[in-house]
Structures are given as structure tokens and as C-alpha cells.
Amino acid sequence: MRQQDSDSHGFAPSRRGFMAGLAAGAGGLTLPRLALAQDGPKPGGKLRYGMNDGSQQDTLDPAGWVAVMTGFAFNGALCNNLVEFLPDGTLAGDLATSWESDDGALRWTFVLRQGVKFHDGRPLTAEDVRQSIQHHMGEDSTSSALAIVRQIARIDIDGDRVIFTLAEGNADFPALMSDYHLSIFPAREGGGIDWESGIGTGPFKLDSFEPGVAIRLLRNPDYHKPGLPHFDEVEVLNIPDSTARLNALLTGEVDVIEDVDIRNVALVERNPELKVVRTPSLRHLTFDMNCSVAPYDNPAVRKALKLAIDRDDIISKVFLGEATKGNDNPAARIMPYFAETPPQHDYDPEAARALLKEAGLDTVSVDLSVAESAFPGAIDAAVLFQEHAAKAGITVNIVQEADDGYWDNVWLKKPFNASDWYGRVTLDWLFSTSYTSDSPWNNTGFRNAGFDEICKAARTELDPDQRATLYAQAQQILHDDGGVITVAFVSWRLAMTANVGHGELGGILPADNHRGAERWWRIDA
């Protein structure tokens, strides 16, 4: 069963899955199952998904979605966006079939798909789209998508077309329309949208919703994607405690659990009826230096600190191997326009010491603010960093901050702190929220005129090759000169029964880009 990971549907074989497949194949036992799996997805059955972040604050209002639980159930199962990210990272139409812009990337026209119906039978119209986006706009909006929709100056409709006029050109605008808050709901007479009744265009209809407890959804027989979804029923359960979540999987109460504890991965993988599915994500764990505060305003100090940390050691001891080494570039490998930023920064205490000496510094002493709530394992990682840096003549004083309120009182405020970044869909969004001089979450206090200019030029550049060149330069600047020490990128880590079938998983959002409900199936259905 375990080689489900490796044999089906283009899922890239991990070495472990590959070896297990070989070993089992040698016994000749797996041939019938192999044939079975190749039959492809089957209709029917039920998916029960144990989530970790549901809350009684959860709401059907798309402006208030924060949890993976609401993202998966409401954005992924109940609704659709104009566009969606496919598992391979390409952008595809969903409720829109095509889109185009003028030369300055200022005016974007989306053409809607014909024949899409809401769950109550109403046909999808351009007005529904306009109201759904406007729901997040306005003076007193508290929507989590405010930063995206603020770019929109006006929305016009013309038959089955929706025309967005932006305040400034943005070549990434279609990709931003995949943001999970921008789900399309039916418009209300006289303006606004009706999110209260839980009616969308998605693969599943809402059956019941108990905030913080459970969400139950039933198959939508009139779904606009042919052959989808596969399940008859999807139930999403909130199980905040990680031990309780694992127990629920082990006792067959649920089929999939979110975020399996790294200490329990071996236990799950030993069980032939279960599997662990890892998907590279945008999420990265960092130590951020504020480039405008001494001693981090000295490029030599920044560079020395980047060379004085042994990322491999931290990954093997703190993350138990469940992470990928970072290279001081906050862009994830799965993002469009990601570029390699050579050389890989590796642990080299001698080189770090030499750099400091060259800059006329004998010793450097820094205060690193951490808390367990900064990222899981942040304190352990800081303790190892302290040991590594000592060999380069750098004293790292660990300041253990309070868990509660870390993001209000430490992050963006202390000059050297640990941070957990969930990432952004596009490089433009990532850089303009966290790395350009005027960005709101510039935790590294990075002010580099050249970098700002490149980001500004790339934003309206519609030629992909030109953009790739510009973004490669921007990433190299961050790697060489930025204040971010990217320790590691982490994967989404699901544990599921071997009876759940799936293709390659998308990693931009958790749970197969939130769309697991429509993409997965039951092998035993």
C-alpha cells in the first residue's frame, strides 16, 4: 500500500517511497494493487479531514477567513475563484476562461465561463463577480484581502466580462485573483453578496456548519468541472490537539490529518495502512536582522552571521530532517520566477571570522529575540546557532520573549528576531509586503534603492523573460545583502490512510491549494 506514494499519478517518488516500492515489488505482492491504482479516481465515498486551526470565530464571510479549516471547506469545496493555481504551479482559469490586459498591465479583462450555476440553480453573472470583489473593498473594510483589492480603482462589467482598472499597473494581477478570500458568492439585489446562506459554485454544497467543531458538505451534482468531485460527502473536523488528531487517524475516526507532529512521522510511516504526504510550500523560518540598526547596518556583519549558522545541523536536530535548507532568499522554489541565488550559504566559521576582521571588528555580540511561538523549534534553533556562531567569534545572546504577544511586541520591533513566514503567491507581493523600503512588514528594515527600482520595473513588465531577469537580480540582492537569514523551508505534512488517492499536491496553500475535496478520491470506494 505504501508505494501509493510513488506509483500513482505523477507524484514524484521520494527516495523512501521508491525504496519501499522496490522492496514490496520484489515480493510480487503489489502487482494487483498497482493495477488497481492505475484505474484512476473513483466516484463515491466520504472524506473526513482532521484540521488543527478551526475556531468558534470561523465564519462563512470570505472577508473573515483565516483558518485552513475555512479555507479548505469554504474556499476549496464550497466556492471557486476566477482563477486557480494548478498543482504544478501554473495559473489556470476557473470561473474565468481567459484574461488579458492593456500594455501597462493597468486594465484587466476577465471572460467568465458559460453555464456555471450556483448551488441554488442561479446562473453565475458578471455582477456576482463584481460584488464578490467589492465585498473586500471600501473605507471600513477589515478583510484579510484588503492589501490586494486596494490596488483596484474600479470594476466594470460588460456582458460576461469583468473589467478591473487598477490604480497602478500590475502584471501579477490575475495571480492575485487566486487569493482564497476572493471566492465568488451570489450578489444580493441592491449590492453586496449573500454569504450567509452558504451558497457557492463549488464542488460541494454546505450541509451543516458548527463553528470550531465541524463542517459537513455534500456532493454538487451540477459542478462545472466534468467528472469532479469524486467524494459523495466531505466532513471537516476541528481537532486542535496534535495527539488527539493522530489518535483520530490511528483509530479510523478520520482519513486525513493536517500537520502531523514531526516526532510522530516515523510512527505513521511504520504503519502500512497510513502514509505521510509532504508538499513543498512557501512557508519559511528565518532569523531577521534589521539592516538599519547597528551592528546589522554593517554588511560585513550580516554576511558573517549568514555564514556563522549551520543550517544542516539545525535541520537534522530541530526539524528531524523535515525541512529544506534555505539560502537567504525568501522566495520558495515552487514560485514563478524563483531563481537560484549562488553561492549556497553554508557554515564556514573561518570565513565569517575573516569577514569581521576585514571590517575591523574583533568580536561581535548580538541579541537574538526568540519564542516558541515565533516558529516551532525557534528556541532550540537559536541555541544551536549560539554554539555555531561562537566558533566564528560571534556572541549570540538569546533573549527569550513571551509566547503571547510575540507578533505584537517583538516582531518588527526587536532588531534581530525569529520569524515564521507563510509566504506570498507572487514575488511582487512577497517583496512589496516585506522587503521594499515602504513595505508594511519590513522586518529586516531593508532599504535598498536598487532593489526597490527592480521591483517597481518588474511589476508592470509583461514580458516573462524580462521579468525573470529582473526578479533574478532582486533575489540575488537579498541573498548577498539582505537582512534575512533563511534557515529552512518547511513542507505541508499531511498524514492519511492509504485509502485516499491523490495526484501531485499543490503547495501554494495547504491541503492541495485548498482544493483537496475536489481533487482527491477514495481508492476503496
Partner: protein
């Protein structure tokens, strides 16, 4: 209060008065404590999307830009008329807390219906056969189960009955659509765990209360008159031990309402403890206040009932000269 009024009546009125005062103090302490916590509802909810403008807009909509004591007075004024207000997520507090409270009361009452008679019976048994095998066995095993932390008891129960023997579901997550039999079946493990936790305390106290009465001269007299030992325990000792037994029962019942959060988490039971933790994490003050008031009311109410019972069971208190 004049000394002529009925003792129960005067006690009940003064207790209710004191109880209301306690509730007022509890609500003030909780409200100010939450206000002094770092972070706010807006930053907790908006997370990594919390631009300063969005936080300011949300705080203004929720009235969080006003000083905390003004917000407290506004809350208090509404609460005095029975209006618990709106949760910051925009739903009435009672629709957030109500279903959770119902689940908690369901779990607590089923547990209590089993635990209270059983504990008193076992306590009497221990007292009657003091020093014999049954007494030693129960004393030792109750001491052991008091000493174990409740989450450990819960995990042991779950490991044996759910994971190994697979007799019962590991998740007690009851939901609206389930019929009662199904709900009961799902609740077996948390009920069993709670029984193990609260039985011990009540058994030991029942035993101790009876035994302390058994040392009185009138028990000696009853024995000398030739009353059988069982009759002495049930007819002479037990009625005089009801006061202390009632107060330990009251304490455990209040615990069943307000103290079972660990067990709720382990068994994924949607009770009020989880609701309060959720609210504290999000700084949803109206929901926190409602939960705190419910917990405080449970303690005050059960203790009041225990005191009434001990007065009724004691003729000297019931008919004071």
C-alpha cells in the same frame, strides 16, 4: 437580617447577594486582565494580513479604541439586563456559548448521575468495612487515581479501550445531527475518565466524614444497645455526615462544569472549556466574560445548594433557638 427569620431563607438571600458581588468582581478582574494582555482581537484575527489600517478599522468597528473601563461599563450595563452582547466575530454570545454549554451540561450530568451514588455507596462500604480488604483496596486505588494527572488517565483509557481493543471511538466529537444513542456511545470514554478522576475524591471524603461521626459517643451507645454495624453506619452515622458529603459533591459537580477542559481537548469534546480557550486566544472579550460568569455561577450555585442541604440535614441548624 433578624434572627427570627427562617435560617434557610436568610442564608439564601445573603448568599445570593454575596454571589452577585462575586460575579461582579470576577467580571471586572477578567475584563481588566484581558485588556492588559498583549495583542488584540484585530491582530489575532488578521494574522499576517494585519496591516495597520485593517487593524485600526476593525478596532474602531468593535469599539476597541475606547479605554477598557468604558467598554467594561458598557458591557456591564447590557449584562445587567441579561444581554450578553455580541461576540467580536459578529454572532450573539449566547449562540456561541449556548451549544457548548449544553454539551458540557450533558457530559456533567451523565457523569454525576453515575458518580455521585456510586461514590457515596463505595464510601459507606469503606467505612463499614474499615481496615478490611475492600477498604484497603479502594483507599489505595483512589489514592492512585487522585495522584495521576487527568490527561494521563485520559490517554491510558484511550490507549486501552480505543486504540488497542477498539471498543469505543477515540473522538467524542458529538455533533448536532447525531441521535442520542450515538452521542452516548461517543461520550463513553470521557465519562469513564471523569468518573475515575472525581470518584476517588468523593469516596475518600465520604469515608472520612462517616468515620469521624463514628467516633462520637452516640455511635458507641448504639453499638452497646446491640445495633448491627451496617445499621449503625446507615441509620446513625450517615445522616450526620451528610453536610460534609454534600460539600465535597458540590465541589466535584462544579469541577465537572468548569474544570474539564483538558479532557475536552484530549477527546475533542466541544464543551465550554474549549470555547473559553478559543476566546482567550482570539481576545474575544464578550465570550470570555460569558464563560467566566458561567464558571463562577456554577461554583457559587453548587456551594449554596450544599449549604442548604447541610442545614436541612441538621436539626440544630434548621430549628435554631
Amino acid at each position: 437580617m433578624t434572627s427570627k427569620s427562617h435560617p434557610i431563607l436568610s442564608m439564601v438571600t445573603s448568599r445570593i447577594g454575596l454571589g452577585l458581588l462575586s460575579l461582579l468582581i470576577v467580571s471586572l478582574v477578567i475584563f481588566s486582565a484581558v485588556s492588559f494582555l498583549p495583542g488584540s482581537y484585530a491582530s489575532a484575527i488578521l494574522g499576517q494580513n494585519a496591516t495597520p489600517e485593517a487593524v485600526a478599522a476593525m478596532e474602531q468597528q468593535l469599539g476597541l479604541d475606547r479605554p477598557w473601563f468604558l467598554r467594561y461599563l458598557a458591557w456591564l450595563g447590557a449584562a445587567a439586563t441579561g444581554d450578553m452582547g455580541m461576540s467580536f466575530a459578529g454572532r450573539p454570545v449566547m449562540t456561541v456559548v449556548g451549544p457548548r454549554l449544553k454539551n458540557t451540561i450533558l457530559l456533567a450530568s451523565i457523569t454525576a448521575v453515575i458518580a455521585v451514588p456510586l461514590a457515596i455507596a463505595l464510601g459507606i462500604l469503606c467505612a463499614r468495612f474499615r481496615g478490611r480488604f475492600i477498604d484497603k483496596f479502594l483507599s489505595t486505588s483512589t489514592l492512585a487515581s487522585i495522584s495521576l494527572p487527568e490527561f494521563l488517565v485520559a490517554y491510558i483509557v484511550m490507549m486501552v479501550l480505543a486504540v488497542k481493543l477498539q471498543l469505543f471511538p477515540s473522538m467524542a466529537g458529538i455533533r448536532n445531527g447525531m441521535d442520542f444513542a450515538d452521542q452516548l456511545y461517543r461520550m463513553v470514554l470521557p465519562i469513564l475518565t471523569l468518573l475515575l478522576v472525581i470518584l476517588a475524591h468523593m469516596v475518600r471524603n465520604t469515608r472520612a466524614a462517616i468515620l469521624s461521626v463514628m467516633a462520637s459517643p452516640y455511635i458507641e451507645m448504639a453499638r452497646l444497645k446491640g445495633e448491627p454495624e451496617g445499621r449503625v453506619v446507615l441509620r446513625q452515622a450517615l445522616p450526620n455526615a451528610i453536610g460534609p458529603i454534600a460539600s465535597v459533591v458540590a465541589l466535584n459537580l462544579a469541577y465537572l462544569i468548569s474544570g474539564v477542559v483538558v479532557i475536552e481537548v484530549v477527546f475533542v469534546y466541544p464543551g465550554i472549556g474549549q470555547a473559553m480557550i478559543d476566546a482567550v486566544r482570539n481576545r474575544d472579550v464578550p465570550v470570555i466574560q460569558a464563560c467566566a460568569l458561567i464558571f463562577a455561577t456554577a461554583y457559587i450555585g453548587f456551594n449554596l445548594i450544599a449549604d442548604i442541604i447541610s442545614i436541612v440535614s441538621n436539626p440544630r441548624l434548621l430549628h435554631p433557638r
